[in-house]
Amino acid sequence: MSLSKRLKRSDATPDLVRLERRLFLRNSLSLGALAMLTGCDLTDGDAVDKVLWAMSRWNDRVQAWLFDPDRLAPTYAESDITKPFPFNAFYAIDDVPDIDGGDWQLEVSGLVQDKSPWTLERLRTLPQQSQITRHICIEGWSAIGQWSGVPFRTFLERIGADLRARYVGFKCADRYYSSLDMATALHPQTILALDYGKDPLPPEYGFPLKLRVPTKLGFKNPKHIAALFVTNDNPGGYWEDQGYNWYSGS
């Protein structure tokens, strides 16, 4: 969910994209035959769009093949941390959900043995790990931050998840949703983050629980997680379903 204010929400709105394409064609701002292709933007399912989606699926497979479960993302010194760490979401900072940590519970479902919900206190009893890593946004910018929390592998083992299942899906309190391949979920640097810096996650960075995955682009790091589930059916994601590459590994 790494969309900063610079990318307007309307940029991802299919209707507006179609309208813009009509304006585009009407204005005849042409670069020859290629101009016709600028309308192929993954939204209306014509032949070129189908090829683009197919290539994206092919890229998912290549990236899964490239992924090395033991290769660690670079880590940085505290002096390298980007201050302030940029806020990014598909909505403005004023719309960040207001969540009461005392009431909050993490729901767990799917291919797991123990489906009992988790409170913040209970998550804090699990082993914790800290990392200073680079968050890379799909827009191209990057920023270094410090996150701490429960190694996701530890959590998945604790709930008796089927570690041979293909996906882990996430549902968030801000209507965001996303999913990961199991290999990335089990990566040693993938953590369920409870803290940013030395303090509990502030609301703008995903209070009370955020997935931190330094081997993926920023939008694969859901914030305000309310539920997670283990499954063999690809759960997609908020941006993934609109055309961002699903794997989006780094």
Binding site: L7, D11, R21, P74
Partner: protein, 210 residues
């Protein structure tokens, strides 16, 4: 007398560009255009410098569409580039057309070009052309390697490190694009100035000149 006798001989059509070079050229022209225009749209999502590319000059409609274009055309560009590289080395194409490349020959031909005394010989590249073709091929290699480093800064960590880290690599990628774009601008301007160079890139052949 020699000139007169040549004039009487009917002009022959000679082969200028072999088929693999022509195919690679046009596939590259399409792939590179897709890469640059979708790249400009991706750049505009978070501009590195205080300017953005105009919307009409971009491909993909929105960031997700542009990335889909960029990562699809990438395979065409890299596959075509590899085939061209293998052909260029194996057939002697690179050696015949781009070598020798010396400082003396470049400076002599550059002087001739600036004083409009540089002759255009069909099928033969002057030293300035040789230098520019060599440089744009290097820029292409740099664009692809820096692109791979941006795509996979963790899995290809060594490549990212070699290029100076993620943020430096973004600038390297931009500079490589700017170099290629500059080359394309000069290339197209020269085709407009010397239009007879265009048909041989399609048919492969041209009338022999005296």
């Amino acid at each position: 007398m020699a000139i007169a006798s040549i004039d009487r001989v009917p002009k022959r059509r000679i082969r200028i560009h072999p088929l693999p070079v022509r195919i690679a050229h046009w596939v590259n022209a399409f792939a590179m255009t897709c890469m640059i225009l979708s790249g400009w749209q991706i750049y505009d999502a978070s501009p590195l410098f205080p300017f953005a590319f105009p919307r009409w000059a971009t491909l993909g409609g929105w960031l997700g569409g542009a990335i889909a274009w960029h990562l699809a055309a990438m395979w065409l560009l890299v596959g075509n580039g590899l085939l061209y590289g293998v052909y260029g080395l194996a057939s002697g194409h690179f050696r015949r057309h781009f070598l020798p490349l010396t400082l003396a020959s470049v400076s002599a031909d550059l002087k001739a070009a600036l004083t409009f005394r540089l002759a255009h010989r069909l099928g033969h590249y002057n030293a300035v052309q040789r230098l520019l073709y060599a440089l744009v091929l290097l820029a292409g290699v740099l664009a692809v390697t820096s692109g791979l480093a941006l795509w996979k800064p963790v899995q290809l960590r060594w490549l990212s490190w070699l290029l100076g880290g993620f943020e430096v690599t973004r600038r390297v990628h931009f500079v490589a694009m700017a170099g290629i774009t500059g080359f394309v601008a000069v290339h197209l301007a020269l085709v407009l100035l010397v239009p007879k160079t265009l048909p041989p890139m399609i048919t492969g052949r041209a009338k022999e000149e005296p």
